[in-house]
Symmetry: C2
Subunit: 280 residues, 2 copies
């Protein structure tokens, strides 16, 4: 094993806080890793922005992580995975793992055949990325999609799963999907696991929910294991950076991470712009 | 009258599309003006971001407008007005009109005494800017506030005023305000006029709604008239810039502006960062 490479960190970026659900899973699956996280909270959300804008922002986020000499970068944002993964892979000297392919692979493993469902942001659905991955891995499979623009702001507002507005919005979005009865439903946004209980109740027990972020964490574990790059020993660590107010980041982070975040650091978007993926 | 100065444009910026409701009013009140608009759609919303981030973005937006040699700049975004107006006034060589003071003045003129209400984004309410303006102009007045984080995404999603989710969310936010029965309610976000019908119905006929953007347009008219800077003759024009996809801007703009927008132009956020207010 290349111990010095194994000791390098895993870089994770997201449009904001949602990616911490992926970090949560990474810390459970790989308990000795060093993780550096960037949440672009000053420019969140990505899910309603254009492909070009998301690609530009994702490239800046990844370039920032490169300064920390990672062994691997995780694009923990579904919209960034949908629009920017190919671009990042073409320009970065380290492997990049997104959340979409792992989510699709896990959904197909859990499905007994028949239609599969995906809910995600406007941008992720419009990109067609999930549809293309399903078609590549299971040609002809019926893929039911639903874009859910209000779920991210509803979750960020801190509403609970039994809030009547949360239930009304979910019913509105899931209505068509409920009728089609897919065997699995991919939660194609890293925020959505926070509403998994309510989504599960509305879809019913015959629908298995697949958390794309958890699937990505498992894909990272497999990759590191295969490449002999798992950090087997040592104390895990999580260093967080945000482009908006670090106090606010710290106060909301626990809901996504399941534990407190220590001293997140501010990095300005102007600093992110000083370096692009091409430079790194 | 200084004809050459009167011929200069009015620069208007907003976090996104909402400021077009202010442009709509400006075009009605001042039919011969040239308007240059910047919507920072790549970084929208501002209403959930920190004071420092909003101040940085607003300074960049205003610096971009300065390149068009305006006679006046309008901060059409309530959150930018709340957090950045003083900073902009301290650094720009032209007058800057925000939406908060005009809204407060108009609310007080419409109020027969008693409590006044304001609904706005999280950032605008948290800044205390409305509360301070009311206190300065009408000391001791009871000011009831409500922050409504979901209204902007709901409006941007395109839901109509009679959509059950729109009504449920409005009822939730307006519940406490309804009980207190303020004589006026300031719509302290440029998006909210699109839901004025539903808000008016929920609040009842005894509550007068004040559109802060309309109030700002009237303040611009008064200022230009007093300074002899009104462009009295000539064809009006509107030139739009956006930091995100111009096609999307054009397709959604009509809902806010009441008419079609011609050929909006893209300007990258990296280009905005090349110049700050201090440089202009």
């Amino acid at each position: 094993m290349d111990a010095s490479r194994a000791n390098q960190c895993i870089g994770v970026f997201d449009s904001g806080l949602g990616g911490l659900t992926v970090v949560h899973r990474l810390m459970d699956e790989l308990p000795a890793e060093r993780i550096v996280y960037l949440g672009d909270c000053a420019r969140v959300p990505y899910g309603t922005k254009s492909a070009q804008t998301v690609r530009t922002f994702a490239a800046q986020d990844a370039a920032f992580l490169m300064r920390h000499n990672p062994k691997l970068i995780v694009a923990a944002c579904n919209t960034a995975s949908a629009y920017a993964l190919e671009h990042l892979r073409g320009h970065l000297p380290v492997p990049v793992i997104g959340v979409i392919r792992p989510g699709v692979r896990r959904a197909l493993a859990a499905s007994a055949g028949g239609p599969v469902g995906v809910i995600a942001t406007e941008g992720t659905i419009a990109s067609g990325a999930y549809q293309r991955e399903f078609e590549a891995m299971s040609p002809g499979r019926t893929v039911l999609t639903g874009s859910c623009p209000l779920l991210v702001p509803i979750i960020e507002e801190g509403r609970s799963e039994d809030d009547p507005i949360v239930l009304a919005v979910l019913s509105d979005y899931l209505h068509a999907l409920q009728r089609e009865r897919p065997g699995v439903l991919v939660l194609g946004c890293t925020h959505y696991p926070l509403l998994a209980g309510a989504i599960g109740k509305l879809m019913g027990p015959h629908v298995e929910l697949v958390d794309s972020g958890h699937a990505a964490a498992l894909a990272v574990k497999t990759y590191l294991g295969e490449q002999d790059l798992t950090r087997g020993e040592g104390v895990s660590s999580l260093e967080c950076f945000t482009t908006d107010n670090p106090q606010r980041f710290a106060s909301v982070a626990e809901r996504f991470l399941g534990r407190a975040v220590r001293a997140p650091q501010w990095v300005g978007t102007d600093e992110l712009m000083c370096q692009t993926v091409e430079d790194s």
